[in-house]
Symmetry: C2
Subunit: 393 residues, 2 copies
Amino acid sequence: MPQEISRRTLIELSVAGTAALAAAEARAQRRPALPKDQKIGFAVVGLGKLSQGQIIPGLRSARSAKLVAVVSGHRDKAARIAAAEGLPTDAIYSYEDYDRIAQDPRIQVVYIVLPNAMHAEYTIRALKAGKHVLCEKPMATSVADCEAMIAAAKAANRKLMIAYRCHYEPKNLEAMRRIRSGALGKPRLVVTDMGRQADPSDPSDAWRLDRKLAGDGALGDMGIYGVNASRYLLNEEPVEVRAWGNTDKSDPRFATTDDLIAWQFRFPSGAICNGSTSFNYNATMSFEVWGEKARIRADPGAFYGGNHFAMVDGGNLKEIDTPEVDQFAREMDWMADVVRGKAPLVSPGEEGLQDVRLMKAITDSLARGGAPISTDWGYKRAVDPAAVVDIVA
Amino acid sequence: MPQEISRRTLIELSVAGTAALAAAEARAQRRPALPKDQKIGFAVVGLGKLSQGQIIPGLRSARSAKLVAVVSGHRDKAARIAAAEGLPTDAIYSYEDYDRIAQDPRIQVVYIVLPNAMHAEYTIRALKAGKHVLCEKPMATSVADCEAMIAAAKAANRKLMIAYRCHYEPKNLEAMRRIRSGALGKPRLVVTDMGRQADPSDPSDAWRLDRKLAGDGALGDMGIYGVNASRYLLNEEPVEVRAWGNTDKSDPRFATTDDLIAWQFRFPSGAICNGSTSFNYNATMSFEVWGEKARIRADPGAFYGGNHFAMVDGGNLKEIDTPEVDQFAREMDWMADVVRGKAPLVSPGEEGLQDVRLMKAITDSLARGGAPISTDWGYKRAVDPAAVVDIVA
């Protein structure tokens, strides 16, 4: 079934110009929500800032997904959120009774929104409980954990999707389409800058500054958007990486993690990516792609909303206007449609593993004074995210 | 005398906030032109696209500088331009009778606008003829040539200025001032991208694609703006460089020169610069500076006009508005004021040499597969270009 849909969207993509694609986009926008009893039930695991601020609100407006359970170590917080969302008390799980979700037919998808180092354990337990899993990025803090998660999904015959929000965001999709269509000419250079000020007094940042919980610091939280963007923009995989860093070890925030890292990827086409990330600079999630003929500038390109994309030809700039959507709703709707057999799995575990491997290569190069590290291990993604055009009701 | 002015502008810079600096800027804008007989006489050497399109028009509107002679290998072109500019026929020189400028008291400054490999010879001959020299960037095609030019200026006791247009451009100056004032917090990252499509059928590009005449290709013509910008934005000098490239040798334009080069500079403060340049991508002269608190985006930042600078704080963008000026007129007026003893020499030969040495380090790293090259040779500029606030009439 997923193959049928994949074929349809890919055909649509290959035969269509931007106009037809925009029409498909508009169609997707107009598609009505499923009746509530046909929506796919999501359990949200971890009730931090992202869950409360984005994911649960996203589920309220999703067309194919709905919130059916919450999992938290904080009973009071969980009870408050469950009540506000109209969930019965038996839809509240703690980490201790988490495995009981296996007996809860309301839950079809478990969305893992925990500190990175806990992704593998809670993903694998959900898969063993027979649930599909949507897992936040970065997928895990080690290649071995990623591989174990992929193996668990295969063994359980369940879907494992990594929450690459930008794969489902209209402006990023339009950028991919224009690049694929040749509107920029041959892409030569990608620049990605992803950073922000980390606030150790904010609990949702405190764990991100702790290597045991987060793995990488700025790179794992923010830089990963650039690592992933360079790949989905160019639609190829880096074969070599080098990195330099700058971490002020007198700043207590960086006792265990790296701060600024600047890396370069070399791609098989010859294109180069200059990437950078930091937990100690002004918030930015921007990228640019220089082609022979034109350039796409996204500044910001990966915020939750309010992104600005433009085609730039010398001093002449044309905004890329696409509908503003609830990006979290869209991503979860896609996962729901994957579960319903209506959409291909665009960002599977293998896609998350690839970024974790590349980030490992970046930190390996950093540790070796910027030595080039080969990343030519032959990964190819199964589905081009540019195929994300329409979600079939 | 220059010291007095330098002190004054530096005091102005150090005591003033942006408001006072803007006032100084406005004062400079309002300053009337000198009477024609008090203007400094310029001879323009080389009558290609830049001279005809920018420099000679700039001299028409300059306040302290005027065109008094042209030097060209094309007698017809020179005669046509001389007539249009109201110059007598004895103000037309060929390369053969160039040394006769020594006997021409109308000429005080010689502006060298020749292919890069000819800069050294024509600069040194002008200095030996007792003239001051303004020389286009890159200063020369070798470190040895730069050193010979500096020595010749010293021996002749004449001024040698390199035409770093952006050192005199209001938006770039405002960016420098804001960075120096701490408005961005500590600068952490600079990204510079400077490129365009080179057109081999255009004579002014043809020589830029010939290593014998140009030295470096895209790096020497466009990339140098980024090399220089990272230094004037951060007000420090890189201590280490690495570079990767991508040149399509099947493209006949790149038979002798490099195309795309992506480099990284490491600065003593810990700041990093990701730079890139190409003769095979869409025109761009952009840079960004990320600080702890805010970011400055310049896109474009180094065009002849129409540059757009903005302060960016997360998704919030505020344009930096400064007067649009004739950048070439302003640069030549500064040179004229240097000659008149009214302004400090901001971009002397040493400043040109520093960029040539850094570009040599970039191409050395490129040739060695991206190996880090130390650039920690202790260069310090004499005058911060941020001091360019006011030109005293």
